[in-house]
């Protein structure tokens, strides 16, 4: 029997969903609001919600003091590069695991995921030493490699899940129709997997963009991305909440906009395979 949904019930559900959504979004909203306040009003007690003297001063100070463009460029290179490299490695890996699995495929997948259970700080020392050894400390290429490696299990898992949803018979049909392995991949599998690949790319760009542990520990000035840009405003000599908020807003703005425009893709990608 279909469950009856009354109008009243629907309204309560909608209100509850909005409440939860606003609760989750509140810290970001507060950061954005604070970025438009003068320093004094930013730390006012009781806090001022909207009735403050709106100003763009924080932004101009931040722009003046630090080279936002360089941080932004570093973030784009590191997030984009690590995702691209990860996809290039993960597609063939997920492919073989999904379509020509061996007895150990499940074990390998679980083992890969288990590396995510290790606290990052546990391998900070060896990785730091390796970076010094190879001379890639504070370099973009070093961060691209590290972020690719830490996100690779997730990329492989996601792609594996998408590929598993593609019926093997379709690939066999392509083989019967005379397609070579390359043509099978190019004309049949890839077009069918594009939604999955796209949401994997999106999620990984977001993860890499927001990654703060490795980016803060392995960079100094040259390769520092936006996470370091934010961190530079939380100084021990005194807290400049408004400027810190302005820096945070500028750091998250690009990814927030990207996420907003691709939310449909992201949601469908993340729930893919959940209902069949």
């Amino acid at each position: 029997m279909a469950r009856a949904v009354t109008r009243q019930r629907k309204m309560i559900n909608t209100a509850a969903a909005w409440a939860v959504g606003l609760l989750i979004f509140f810290p970001i909203l507060w950061t954005i609001l604070t970025s438009f306040k003068p320093e004094a009003q930013a730390i006012a007690d009781p806090p001022i919600f909207l009735g403050f003297d709106w100003t763009l001063e924080n932004y101009s100070v931040v722009m003046e003091r630090s080279n936002y463009g360089r941080f932004l460029w570093n973030s784009i290179v590191i997030a984009g590069g690590s995702t691209l490299l990860g996809i290039l490695i993960a597609v063939p890996a997920a492919w073989s695991m999904a379509f020509v699995p061996s007895k150990r495929t499940k074990d390998i997948l679980l083992w890969m995921l288990s590396t995510k259970m290790l606290p990052a700080v546990g391998v900070l020392y060896p990785i730091y030493l390796l970076f010094i050894q190879f001379g890639i400390l504070d370099s973009k290429i070093g961060l691209v490699i590290v972020l690719m490696l830490i996100n690779l299990p997730i990329i492989v898992w996601m792609l594996y899940t998408y590929f598993r949803e593609i019926p093997g018979e379709i690939l066999e049909a392509a083989r019967m129709d005379g397609a070579t392995l390359k043509e099978e991949v190019l004309y049949v599998l890839t077009p069918m997997a594009i939604p999955g690949i796209a949401s994997t790319v999106l999620l990984n760009v977001i993860l890499a963009w927001n990654e703060a542990f490795w980016t803060l520990n392995l960079t100094a000035a040259k390769a520092a991305p936006l996470t370091a840009f934010i961190a530079s405003y939380s100084s021990p000599e005194g807290l400049f909440y408004a400027k810190l908020s302005a820096a945070s807003t500028m750091a998250i703005a690009p990814i927030l906009i990207l996420g907003w425009f691709s939310q449909k893709q992201l949601v469908s990608g993340l729930t893919f395979g959940a209902v069949k």
């Binding site: 018979e169 066999e172 049909a173 083989r175 019967m176 005379g178 049949v188 069918m192």
Partner: protein, 334 residues
């Protein structure tokens, strides 16, 4: 040309042998049906012929040439899958064109063949649609169209009608049979449905546990099944197999009699029993008779108008000329 010859072909998955070595020849232009219960290896056998599975030992010859190590695309065979296996992101036209594109057929020749196939299969109005916008029957026609345009030496069908509803299945059955008459190309058709096998085949191959139980025309299999398995599998409703005293009277282990070869009387006959379930099909009625030693219930086919009710006592007499006799191993005698 489309003669396919299997020579001591076997298949094992790891330690498990699913098809012990077997020999089989499918003649050019023949409509051959592989039939058997699920898990009998019929689909595996088809996939071995297609080249989608590697054979463990033996040889496959297509048109006299050894095709054992030839990749699927190079065998000149076209396959229609149970799930249709259409490319969901391509229009019907591009689906049908795909094998031609892979083969590098010139564009105008592609168009000519697609138009011809679409006309033959009533798909002309749907060429620009995606598979997702078609019904099950139309999708199956697209899959057949994709197979036809290649002009293969043989068609392989893997339970192509299983996903269709009963009415559509009958219609498509006829269409495929007519296609075979028209093209006169070898067709190998896998099904678990013995009605499909009986109605479509020139030659039926009955399989059980990877072993060929019998090869023959539909009527050969119906009239003289080689063993009890084939006797029970071919024919609907199933043949009644009687053991015990009644079989001993004929000097054998088991006797078999088809439901349509038993006479029913309300006054006298060889066996006496009580009517259980009666299935009324209109033209015929299938009676399930209880209380007959060695075969309970016994199925009998009678005229649709025969006035019998649940619990009635009836007398049955088998037509002796249609009696099948089997030994203790289940093999046919005589």
């Amino acid at each position: 040309m489309g003669q396919i010859k299997l020579n001591q072909v076997s298949k094992s998955f790891g330690e498990t042998e699913v098809i012990p070595p077997l020999d089989l020849t499918i003649e050019d232009g023949e409509f051959t049906v592989f039939v058997g219960p699920s898990g009998c290896g019929k689909s595996t056998l088809l996939r071995l012929i297609a080249g989608l599975e590697d054979i463990t030992s033996g040889h496959i010859e297509i048109d006299g040439a050894d095709a054992t190590n030839v990749p699927p695309a190079k065998r000149g065979l076209a396959m229609v899958f149970q799930s249709y296996a259409l490319y969901p992101h391509m229009s019907v036209r591009r689906n049908i064109a795909f094998p031609l594109k892979m083969a590098g057929v010139p564009a105008d020749e592609q168009d000519r063949r697609i138009t011809a196939a679409a006309q033959a299969l009533n798909l002309t109005d749907y060429l620009d649609r995606r598979p997702g916008q078609l019904s099950g029957g139309q999708r199956q026609r697209v899959a057949i169209g994709r197979a036809i345009v290649r002009e293969p030496s043989a068609f392989l069908f893997d339970e192509p009608l299983s996903n269709l509803d009963a009415a559509l299945r009958v219609g498509m059955r006829m269409e495929i049979s007519e296609l075979h008459k028209k093209l006169e190309t070898t067709m190998i058709y896998v099904t678990h449905d013995q009605v499909e096998a009986m109605t479509m085949a020139d030659k039926i191959v009955v399989l059980q546990a990877g072993v060929i139980e019998q090869v023959g025309s539909p009527l050969e299999l119906y009239r003289s099944p080689r063993n009890k398995f084939v006797a029970g599998f071919i024919g609907s409703p199933k043949m009644n197999l009687i053991e015990g005293a009644e079989a001993a009277r004929h000097g054998v282990h088991t006797v078999g009699i088809r439901p349509e070869h038993i006479e029913v009387s309300s006054s006298d006959g060889l066996w006496q029993g009580k009517v259980g379930v009666a299935e009324h099909l209109g033209s015929d009625t299938f009676l399930h008779i209880h209380g007959i030693a060695g075969c309970d219930p016994m199925t009998v086919r009678v005229d649709g108008e025969l006035p019998v009710r649940h619990g009635d006592t009836v007398f049955l007499t088998p037509n002796e000329t249609h009696l099948h006799k089997f030994d203790a191993e289940g093999l046919r005698i005589g």
